[in-house]
């Protein structure tokens, strides 16, 4: 089967989208871009291919019951991946402990880390074992990181194995875990996953068929912040503005205005009825009010990114926030808390502040036209969406606001569409 790929090398995340010959999406993959673009695109690609194979399995499998089973298989697959990474993390930490020579403290440190890993493992098993696992970040770093933090805080001892020590070990090793490509292929993981679910025979044929399908990559287009570092020919690189415009148009053909809030930049784009960009504005130089900002806030509050939105939604009185400097985020938060403001209200204010910044760019790019599509990682955040909806209503009147659960893939989708054009 011939397919094309679009890769969006974002400043915080790297996304890949695979299209089949008809231009239909068959797979998506995402990873942290944090440490290495080349690797990130390799990981995103392999994730997307794994996802594509799942879709192929899904195409084979019909009927309610099998769908549920398919879900279980997918979760088992994810658990396999996670446990693999967790095991690797543990291994690396052990090595690091060895290297650092804690002396007498050594065994205690080792034991502490062991118990943390154990606890995380249990948590992960429970998470993926549940029929309806709660929403959370799909990144290993985020998911495991917050659990690690939690357990480390719990068992740390200011006089012995300190929190800082435990955290230091984690920080040191998580990078390497992220930087190592997973050597387990689809085949091996899926086999293990099949073993985990009951009644696998039902699935085996579909899986076999999917696994053996040749996915033949006809063309790849790269876009995004890191696109210049991709080893692609110039024709295969597109500006992220164009890709976002086209991607949004593909998801919602009525789109005229696109707002994308990513990790470090915000873009406001106007497109015409065929998805061609007519004007755009982006912020650069200053990362205030972008996705990373929320990341800092989440770190500061010791919460997961995905928990921020729901908490802000509980606010009854939005606090006015002035500075959206990403680095000052924590300070602003502390200052407000010390003034006795409630977390919910501060969070609501922070979200509003982010959207206010975006409103400026939107205004600069030419305002908001029906339909309006919100993309990028921050579009996953309901409080941001809420603030946006309010501000759009107040200032531009009622507009259709499109948000896709896959909005983070918009740029990659646009890239893949360009690839599709190039290929045909």
């Amino acid at each position: 089967m011939r397919c094309v790929i679009g890769i969006d090398l974002g400043s915080t995340t790297t996304k890949a989208v695979i299209l089949d010959e008809d231009g239909a999406i068959i797979g998506r993959g995402i990873t942290n871009s944090r440490s290495n673009y080349e690797l990130a695109s390799a990981v995103a690609r392999s994730e997307a291919f794994a996802d594509a194979r799942f879709r192929l399995v899904a195409r084979e499998v019909r009927g309610e019951l099998d769908q549920a089973l398919l879900g279980r298989l997918e979760r088992a697959f994810r658990l396999e991946q996670t446990l693999g990474q967790l095991g690797r993390l543990h291994e690396l930490i052990e090595e690091e402990i060895e290297r650092r020579q804690y002396g007498e403290l050594g065994p205690t440190v080792r034991e502490a880390v062991g118990s943390i890993v154990k606890a995380i493992e249990l948590e992960e098993r429970a998470h993926f074992g549940s029929e309806n696992p709660p929403l959370r970040s799909s990144f290993f770093r985020d998911a495991v990181g917050s659990a690690y933090n939690r357990y480390a805080e719990e068992i740390s001892d200011p006089k012995g194995v300190t929190f800082d020590l435990l955290l230091g070990l984690y920080d040191k090793c998580i990078i390497r875990v992220e930087n190592e490509p997973m050597d387990l292929g689809f085949q091996e993981l899926i086999d293990n996953a099949l073993d985990r679910i009951e009644n696998p025979t039902l699935m085996v044929d579909a899986v076999r068929a999917a696994a053996s399908t040749e996915l033949d990559e006809a063309c790849m287009v790269g876009t995004g912040y890191g696109r210049a570092t991709l080893p692609f020919p110039k024709e295969a690189i597109r500006s992220e503005i164009l890709c976002h415009g086209l991607g949004a148009h593909a998801m919602f053909p009525g789109t005229r205005t696109v707002l994308d809030i990513g990790g470090q930049d915000t873009k406001a784009i106007q497109v015409d009825d065929s998805g061609i960009v007519t004007s755009f504005q982006m912020n650069d130089r200053c990362a205030a009010g972008c996705g990373r900002y929320l990341g800092y806030i989440a770190d500061e509050m010791n919460m997961g990114l995905h928990e921020l939105g729901p908490m802000a939604e509980k606010s009854t009185r939005c606090v006015k926030i002035n500075s959206t400097c990403t680095v000052f985020a924590g300070a602003e938060l502390r200052e407000r808390l010390s003034l006795g403001e409630r977390r919910e209200d501060i969070l609501a204010g922070l979200h509003r502040a982010i959207i206010l910044r975006a409103m400026s760019l939107l205004a600069r790019s030419g305002g908001i036209d029906d339909e309006f599509t919100f993309t990028g990682g921050v579009a996953n955040n309901e409080a941001a969406v809420h603030a946006l909806r309010d501000l759009v209503d107040e200032n531009y009147g009622q507009k259709t606001l499109n948000i896709s659960p896959d909005s983070i893939y918009t740029g990659a989708l646009g890239g893949a569409l360009f690839a599709h054009r190039l290929a045909s």
Partner: protein, 388 residues
């Protein structure tokens, strides 16, 4: 009326971004119109004489959320014009029939052209004040400009004021300026009784109510502070220079005083006391007003200083007059007039061993920690090292 209720009333006007007081005035007097003006100096006398209400537009402060204003300005342009545009674009200035853009700087000058494009139905005029000092050339030019403006305003209001009416307006504004001088004098001698926050709120109120009402307000404030004196504090005395156009947020003014500095002179809203002497009331009103500007305009960054020594002595003169211990240069970020003037003024001050500090603000600055730190250190050092 007590101090508190006067200030509360003033604060209400200051806080009201919809200019309800102006709207009320217009609805009470059907057929009348209001004309806005931007900083720094506009001849409000002429607006008043035509039966129009002059309304000072000084930005939106920290209370207006900028949604569309940023679409008009890059990040490296001061904050004032974007909030003015925001006010305009959100319909909050729709009660104005005209807007005057004084020659303050390139930003306001260019804004006049933008306003023309944005609001083709409004009367928009760029006011090119004379920058040269030679009275024989400057006065006739300025008189011509004033006449042009007066004719336009008269057309707008449908009423061409007689010479006596003009003279009456000049006289009224003489009174207003005299009252403001008295207010400043009171604060100079008893800064604890006239906190700068209160003085400021009063003046802001004066920018959107008729001058007659403003006069009454100041008079009642004078009575109130005599009735309710405050306790003096161990503060240092400073003058604040550089905030003649974009206005500092109220929080900043409070921060300076809380950090231990009494403000004993400032150039906030300097347009309302731009003419330092009474305008002559005998003779042709327009030429009297023109002459007054050319001869008696206050020294400020937006007017060319013809005297080469002027910039060097400006701060010393102000500090002496106010009996201050030091100077705080508080300029709006990206404000060319204030910031380009600062090194000259500062050199002049330092030549006389006048301690100075400088900071930049924006009308919507929300965090005052930096200012507090600087003003606090300033007052610390004045206190710890006694005097200068």
């Amino acid at each position: 009326m007590g101090r508190e209720s006067i200030i509360r009333a003033a604060r209400e006007i200051y806080d009201d971004l919809d200019f309800q007081r102006v709207r009320d005035w217009l609805s009470q007097k059907p057929g009348t119109k209001a004309v806005g003006y931007l900083p720094v100096y506009a001849p409000r006398e002429l607006i008043h004489a035509c039966g129009l209400l002059p309304v000072g537009i000084h930005g939106g402060g920290d209370r207006v959320e900028i949604i569309k204003g940023d679409a008009f300005y890059q990040s490296y342009i001061c904050h004032l014009p974007r909030s003015v545009v925001e006010l305009g674009q959100s319909g909050r200035l729709d009660m104005l029939s005209g807007m005057l853009f004084p020659s303050t700087c390139d930003v306001i000058r260019n804004l006049s052209g933008m306003w023309k494009m944005l609001y083709p139905d409004q009367y928009v005029r760029y006011i090119d004040v004379p920058q040269i000092a030679t009275p024989e050339i400057a006065i006739p030019f300025w008189e011509g400009e004033l006449r042009h403006l007066l004719n336009d305003l008269a057309k707008l209001s449908g009423h061409h004021p007689s010479e006596d009416e003009l003279r009456a307006s000049l006289g009224l504004y003489n009174e207003v300026r005299a009252a403001l001088r008295e207010l400043y004098e009171l604060r100079r001698t008893r800064p604890w009784d006239v906190p700068t926050e209160e003085l400021y709120l009063l003046m802001r109120a004066g920018e959107s109510i008729p001058p007659e009402d403003f006069l009454a307000m100041i008079q009642s404030y004078f009575r109130a502070i005599d009735d309710e004196p405050n306790r003096p504090r161990d503060n240092s005395r400073v003058i604040v220079v550089g905030s003649f156009c974009e206005q500092p947020p109220l929080g900043l003014i409070k921060t300076i005083e809380r950090a231990g500095c009494y403000v004993v002179d400032d150039d906030f809203l300097i347009g309302n006391r731009f003419l330092t002497e009474d305008v002559e009331l005998s003779g042709d009103p327009l030429s009297c007003l023109a002459e007054s500007f050319v001869r008696d305009a206050v020294a400020t960054s937006v007017i060319y200083e013809a005297d080469p020594h002027g910039k060097r002595s400006e701060i010393k003169d102000k500090v002496d007059a106010a009996g201050a211990d030091g100077v705080i240069f508080a300029a709006a970020s990206f404000c060319d007039p204030a910031l380009l003037d600062r090194p000259m003024l500062r050199t002049g001050a330092e030549a006389h061993d006048i301690p100075c500090i400088a900071f930049k603000f924006s009308e919507n600055s929300g965090q005052f920690q930096q200012f507090r730190e600087q003003a606090g250190t300033f007052s610390d050092s004045i206190k710890l090292w006694g005097g200068a």
